[in-house]
Symmetry: C2
């Protein structure tokens, strides 16, 4: 199981590879939220999302002989790009199984980063069976998107940086809002904060209709989403929290926060105008919660992740047309 | 006159105030340019452009009694916001004289940052006369946008950071492309590189029709633009290089680079998709030169500034519609 020692080891393996992202702010966002807002812009991470951290952590932790056979991953896009880049850095093959309806940019980028992309139909095909066959044939190692200790350790390095920067800013207590799909980033950050900034509390943020982590936390057990389709916030849509991530969330996190798709689009427009950052819808839900769920947040400062920026231009233009 | 000692002093005064921006990159941009491309994202600076550095440098260098009366500036927008924020940080009044046709966002932001905005008509009114009257009445100190040694020193801190990060990346020789209006950023960076990275060479980048710095360098004397209107790249449109900045450019810079408005828009779209950054048209001309003027650049790496990101949504959407 992932612990702080594993996270620190992952940080050492990522040093000089993952970008050390800052905490950004804007007085205009502070005014909207009624408290100081600090943004951890993982959209600036390599491949445009935090997923590179976990992918590089997991692939760098493999025994070299195993790694040489290559890796395989299932992903709607951001994990795919992270695995593709990390595998290419080690010079090993990567096969990525992606849903046919994933954003075009994510499919194109994954291929351009050197991976072999295998598309499947979300409704009619069994991605696990496809993956099992390919893995058996080629000796590929599966890099899971979140329910994998070394992936969680890699995402947790985000939390080490948040703890360090919060301390430098004199922030001792605050909610840390995290865009949450399967819970890899949220659980990793929660573990890092437990060790390095115990006054900071991680809280998962999700889009309406896909609030499995929020409901799981409030019920104390894993709950599934009713919908199986994807939504605007495709990057963070999973059926349920992970078997490994949920116990960590349950032990360490505050209540989840849920925002509407419109609020996510509005937050994207504000990230554009006030931070000069490109956020994808799923990557903007934590900022949306910081700005529009102010009654559910405590303290005079809030920290939130922008977990990714891989958004097609038409969706971004919708956000600007409606809210900029 | 600005020298490296003044730049280092400005850096000390800016420490803990100006953001320390990184150098970002993308393998996709490297492919387009045919060499490694490193981007200095000053759009992430406070107020969304590098101008905060020079404004804070100049205002922090004033004698406190003088500063207490307040400051005044002429600006189409980015210098205005930088002066407004820096003045508010010192708790002193700021009056900003802005053209009536400046982007709405820049006028709004300057007011929101606490400054008093006085609008004038670019064609029919004499901004210098308006400024002189106000300054005399209230004892305001003029903070010039570029032809002022302490402003150049502040902008030069950008060059200190570029030199430091280039050394860490092992880049010993490269062109450093700088979005150039009056030449404050370009001359400041050139002075910093002369001292800290003599293998790096600053080169001004401009939009077609407003290439006064490029023509001035090639003629060895200050040349004016024929057009007096503003253009798409409003942030970096000036009639001519400064009397103080030009001798520095002439002594230290390589030839200028000129890009079309369409190339600037294309670079904005690529900064969106590949760097997750919001660049304004004038702030994208150096990236455009790095990507689309590859025959005019030497070496296997190029560094370029994104000087600002204060762009109205409709202009940004035009860039995405046409080039994303």
């Amino acid at each position: 199981m992932t612990d702080i020692t594993m996270i620190r080891s992952a940080a050492a393996r990522l040093a000089g590879h993952a970008r050390r992202t800052p905490l950004l702010s804007s007085p205009f966002l502070d005014d909207i939220a009624g408290r100081r807002v600090f943004v951890k812009p993982e959209c600036l991470q390599h491949t445009g999302s935090f997923k590179y951290r976990g992918a590089r952590s997991a692939i760098s932790a493999l025994d070299p002989d195993t790694r040489a056979h290559g890796v395989i991953a299932f992903s709607s896009g951001n994990h795919a790009q992270g695995v593709a880049l990390a595998a290419s850095e080690f010079g090993v093959p990567a096969v990525i199984i992606m849903p046919r309806d994933a954003p075009r940019m994510k499919i194109d980028n994954t291929r351009a980063l050197g991976a072999e992309v295998v598309l499947y139909d979300r409704a009619g095909e069994d991605r696990d069976a496809i993956g099992a066959t390919l893995s058996a044939e080629r000796g590929l190692t599966l890099i899971k998107p979140y329910d994998e200790p070394q992936v969680i350790a890699g995402q947790g390095t985000t939390g080490l940086e948040i703890a360090e920067d919060a301390a430098a800013l004199g922030i001792e207590t605050a909610d840390v809002l995290v865009c949450c799909g399967g819970g890899g980033l949220t659980s990793g950050i929660a573990l890092a904060l437990e060790a390095d900034a115990p006054g900071l509390r991680a809280r998962p943020c999700e889009p309406e209709g896909f609030d499995d982590a929020t409901r799981s936390l409030s019920h104390g057990k894993i709950m599934r989403n009713a919908q199986t389709t994807t939504g605007l916030c495709d990057a963070i849509v999973t059926p349920q929290p992970g078997e490994i991530t949920f116990p960590i969330l349950h032990r360490l996190c505050g209540p989840g926060l849920v925002v509407s798709d419109d609020e996510a689009l509005h937050a994207m427009a504000l990230a554009f105008s006030r931070l000069k950052l490109v956020a994808e819808p799923g990557g903007a839900v934590a900022l949306a919660a910081a700005l529009f769920r102010t009654d559910e947040i405590e303290g005079d400062a809030v920290i939130c992740t922008i977990s990714g920026g891989n958004v097609d231009a038409d969706v971004f233009q919708t956000a600007l047309s409606r809210f900029a």
